[in-house]
């Protein structure tokens, strides 16, 4: 194995062991699974007490359960209503037996109210540009949306060569949700449901950003401590600075990934168990495509933040001195959150697009955009590509600073001193 790779491997193994061997890692990793399990156990208990208080009414309800199941089976066999308001689509839904096509939304809503269809989708005139679809339902099982998504994808990919339509076919439709109550009243989706969607989407992205900042900060500390402990000179005669930096970034990245995986796995495994406890939670679809993209942006975002943090750690003389400078990394990561209203109202705005292409803000911006709207695959690829190139350059620069930092022992960092050290650092 080449010496550089060997050095990276050894630094990686050392840093990884050090990181996951600590009590802090274990506690932080197990916190979310433990909270979820506690909720899983506690909520039914609390609800059981409430149910006992409710008394005999439950007995009467159970007598009707069989007829409810029968009604559910009947609903599954009902067609899905669809209204096509765009002329750009070129898909004839009447050829699919599971869909019933309406010319007007009102006619579809009448059928939904009467129970002739189980849900109604209105594909809006601007669909090809925005992916906007109205979704009317009495009981959202998630199946109808999945079926529509699959139908649109297969039909569009199979029938068109138009790049715009193909791009739309690959992206997810954006559903504006409306409930149809028993009395026929149509209402926009409730605040609770929106909040749940937010938790699953943006909330998840926010949690990722926090871990990204946390592991970036740990990396800064390990680099800074090496300087404080006067280890740098010995390390530099044992491995190249790039191997040292790469080993550290990968080790902490993997530790963060393991932590995130445990959290995600616990959410996937435990949250569906709440289905009988929290109304509708089981119907929230887990979009693995979205999770994959979030993960990709998480890793690329981590690489950039980690390289920047490592550079700061290498350029400063102590953890205390480095601390305030972390704001230079954290603030850009947080900028998209300040623009949250824009992301929610107009995710395709030039500013949100710019933020999602700017490498330092791209991770957060893209996670928010992906959670709130559809993003063109080309834009996703460009953003990821720019982030990867930037991360590689920053890592190289951080390793140069790490070597040059040796010449800054005992000096306060200034741009001039850092530049002089960089020039003489070989």
């Amino acid at each position: 194995m080449p010496a550089a790779l060997d050095g990276t491997r050894i630094v990686f193994a050392h840093e990884f062991r050090k990181q996951i061997g600590g009590k802090g890692f274990l506690i932080a990793t197990l916190t979310i699974p433990v909270i979820l399990v506690v909720l899983w156990i506690a909520i039914p208990l609390v609800r059981g007490i409430v149910a006992d208080d409710a008394g005999d009414s439950a007995t009467a309800d159970s007598a009707t359960s069989t007829s409810v199941e029968d009604s559910d089976n009947a609903a599954a066999a009902k067609p899905i209503g669809i209204v096509i308001q765009t002329t750009d689509l070129g898909v004839d839904f009447s050829q699919f037996p599971k869909y019933k096509v309406f010319a007007e939304t009102a006619a579809g809503l009448d059928d939904l109210r009467s129970g002739a269809i189980k849900e109604l989708f209105v594909i809006l005139p601007e669909y090809v540009a925005t992916g906007h679809v109205e979704y009317y339902y009495t009981d959202d099982t998630g199946e109808g949306r999945q079926q529509l998504r699959a139908t649109l994808r297969d039909a569009l990919l199979g029938q068109t060569q138009s790049p715009e339509l193909r791009q739309r076919a690959l992206a997810r439709p954006q559903f504006a949700r409306f409930t149809v109550a028993d009395d026929g009243e149509v209402a926009a989706e409730s605040g609770v449901a929106v909040a749940v969607s937010f938790l699953v989407g943006q909330g998840f992205a926010i949690a990722l950003i926090f871990t990204l900042i946390a592991y970036g900060t740990i990396l800064l500390q390990t680099v800074s401590e090496e300087k404080e402990n006067r280890m740098v000179e010995v390390l530099l005669t044992s491995a190249s600075p790039l191997a040292i930096m790469t080993g550290k970034v990968l080790a902490l990245g993997l530790a963060g990934l393991i932590q995130m995986s445990v959290w995600i796995a616990s959410v996937i495994l435990v949250v569906p168990r709440f289905a009988g406890v929290i109304p509708d939670i089981g119907t929230i679809p887990i979009d693995f495509g979205f999770l994959f993209l979030v993960l990709a942006f998480y890793l690329a975002g981590y690489a950039i933040a980690a390289a920047l943090m490592a550079g700061i750690g290498a350029a400063t003389t102590s953890v205390t001195e480095a601390g305030p400078l972390t704001a230079l990394v954290i603030i850009p990561l947080a900028v998209p959150f300040y623009a949250m209203p824009l992301f929610l109202s107009d995710a395709g705005h030039w500013l949100t697009r710019f933020l999602s292409l700017l490498p330092i803000t791209a991770a957060t911006s893209m996670m928010l955009r992906l959670a709130t709207s559809s993003v063109a695959p080309g834009e996703i690829a460009l953003s990821l590509g720019l982030m990867i190139v930037t991360a590689a350059l920053l890592l190289w620069l951080a390793s140069r600073i790490f070597r040059a930092g040796l010449l800054l022992y005992g000096q306060r960092m200034s741009l001039r001193a850092a530049w002089t050290a960089l020039r003489h650092g070989g």
């Binding site: 090496e226 402990n229 022992y409 003489h424 070989g426």
Partner: protein
């Protein structure tokens, strides 16, 4: 066999300050070379250039016959002046890690680390965190870490600073063992007595320039008889031909001007009625040469 280290006319300028100005020397296998000089002489910068930590602006460095590369650097053990260990890690973990970075297998790093800790008397402390060790223990551990991989070139920058005499003795024995094993050793220190005791050759650097370079005995003999040691209760008011006087342990040490007569010194004591317990004509010590050369260079 190629020299362990060949430094040829290296020069380093930081801003407008020439820190190293054409320094040249060679270190051969199985020799201990003393690298001495006053503070700020350019010793550490020269070592860093030899180890490719910083690049020279002019001149060249050859490690084991070729330009410093990762493979050659794996054969070097380095104890820098600015040193330390991971404070929050267990001692044996740190040593094992440093051994692995120097190319040892996990098993070899473990066994060498145990053996070196035993050799320096720290084996019982191997599970302790480094921050729990005394300063002297820390230093011994760092010394051990520099030798774990049995390097062919050992560079020790002020290895004895802050150590008690017993630990200094342990270190000297180990350095001697390394030499017998075949390693070339660069020993940098401000303590001239230690350098004189341990080194066959020295290079004296001041202001970035080499002032003296060669075998210690040769250098001394080349300067002729210039040192007189007199054991007496006091010294006369005027001692002829003396350029520098040192008083230590009731003994007067005189550095004579070139061509001065040592017997005139003895006569000055006897003529003053001061009883002389011992009179010794000696070759100049390294300290004398250091003071004389550095003073001359600074005044030039």
């Amino acid at each position: 066999m190629a020299s362990a280290l060949n430094v040829d006319g290296v020069k380093k300028i930081f801003g407008h300050n020439t820190v190293v100005d054409g320094v040249s020397f060679t270190v051969e296998p199985q020799e201990i070379m003393g690298l001495v000089g006053p503070n700020g002489a350019g010793k550490t910068t020269t070592i860093r250039m030899a180890l490719d930590i910083i690049r020279p602006d002019a001149g060249s460095v050859a490690l084991f016959g070729s330009a410093p590369n990762r493979q050659a650097l794996q054969r070097v053990g380095y104890l820098p002046e600015e040193r330390g260990l991971y404070q929050k890690s267990a001692l044996s973990d740190v040593l094992r890690y440093l051994g692995r970075l120097k190319g040892l297998s996990a098993k070899a790093a473990q066994s060498r680390s145990d053996a070196m800790l035993q050799r320096v008397g720290l084996y019982e402390h191997r599970a302790k965190k480094v921050q729990a060790l005394s300063r002297g223990m820390n230093q011994l551990a760092q010394f051990a870490s520099a030798l774990l991989h049995q390097p062919d070139l050992v560079i020790l920058d002020e290895p004895f600073s802050g150590l008690d005499p017993l630990n200094v003795q342990v270190m000297k024995e180990i350095i001697s063992e390394q030499q017998q094993r075949g390693a070339a050793i660069i020993f940098s220190s401000h303590n001239m007595e230690d350098v004189e005791e341990m080194c066959e050759r020295v290079v004296l650097v001041s202001g970035g320039n080499v002032l003296l370079y060669g075998g210690l005995d040769e250098l001394k003999r080349a300067r002729g008889i210039q040192n007189i040691r007199v054991a007496a209760p006091q010294q006369p008011a005027d001692v002829p031909g003396v350029t520098h006087t040192t008083v230590e342990d009731g003994q007067f040490e005189y550095l004579l001007v070139e061509g001065a007569d040592p017997n005139a010194v003895l006569r000055s004591f006897l003529d003053s009625g001061i009883p002389v317990e011992r009179f010794e004509v000696a070759l100049p010590s390294l300290r004398d040469m250091f003071i004389e050369e550095v003073s001359r260079a600074r005044s030039a």
